[in-house]
């Protein structure tokens, strides 16, 4: 059943991505001030929202794990975090390439960029922590605490463009500004690509979750083999 869901979601994500690429590259005109480089935003912004959703899911499953000690939530935690970190890498890379053209620099230590880099480092250290601890219960407990702590930085990343005057542009989506900051056709393309990336991310999380379950099955069988 899960296999079928994964295939259906993957097909839907693929169709949407092809449709979105057509709209982004051929359907929409160049932005008046930025030129064609603004098209990077159609992946930069949706990737950022996708990774924030993933980190939020990881934080929630960490809290549930600490309350219930059910290893399934630890598996959801690691699957969500790993996939979200891949999207966070996309955010940093695409943002940097866009900045090279628009600001003339690859990087600046402003509040949004720095907090996003800290976010990436925190979740990367989460994955390193998991590799460093062998005992499964201890590993799940420590990494759940780190995941909840790391999520506090996601809130800082999200709010940084409101709290501080940053070089990074302010909010443009109408869900945050009430509208009027972006052409409706361009904004619609961002939401369509957000949907495609969320579906793609969900597929990756489901595949990663299945791998985590297989790993647990192998660990259980290995214990059984030692007992025989």
């Amino acid at each position: 059943m899960r296999e079928k869901i994964i295939y259906i979601l993957a097909a839907a994500a693929a169709v949407l991505l092809v449709r979105n690429l057509y709209v982004i590259l051929l359907g929409l005109p160049d932005e008046a001030q930025q030129g064609p480089i603004y098209r990077i935003m159609f992946f930069h912004i949706p990737s950022a929202i996708t990774c924030f959703i993933g980190f939020f899911a990881a934080g929630i499953s960490s809290a549930i794990y600490l309350a219930t000690k059910n290893p399934r939530y630890d598996a959801i935690d690691v699957a969500s975090t790993e996939v979200s970190l891949a999207f966070a890498t996309v955010v940093l890379a695409t943002g940097s390439i866009w900045a090279r053209i628009i600001w003339g620099i690859w990087w600046t230590w402003d509040a949004r960029l720095t907090s996003m880099l800290v976010c990436w480092l925190l979740y990367a250290s989460y994955l390193m922590l998991r590799r460093a601890i062998d005992e499964p219960t201890q590993r799940a407990k420590f990494s759940a605490v780190l995941s909840i702590f790391a999520f506090s930085d996601v809130i800082i990343v999200w709010k940084s463009i409101e709290w501080w005057r940053t070089q990074h542009p302010g909010p443009v989506l109408s869900i945050r500004t009430g509208g009027g900051r972006m052409d409706p056709a361009m904004e619609a393309a961002i939401y369509w690509n957000l949907l495609a990336l969320i579906l793609f991310g969900l597929v990756l999380v489901l595949v990663r979750l299945r791998q985590e379950e297989t790993r647990r099955e192998i660990d259980g069988m290995r214990q059984m083999a030692h007992a025989i």
């Binding site: 030129g35 480089i37 996309v90 390439i97 866009w98 083999a225």
Partner: protein
Amino acid sequence: MVEARNLLYMFYGFVAVWVILAAYVVSLVARERNLKKELTRVRGLIDERERAR
């Protein structure tokens, strides 16, 4: 000239997106393959030990 550079960097941006996501997918596929091998190996080990009992 400026327009060509702008277009080139847009291309770099799109390449970065797909290279990062593809690299992650490849790592997932490699892990899946290793897990399947490991599962078969451990199953074989259990069968072997049960037969030897």
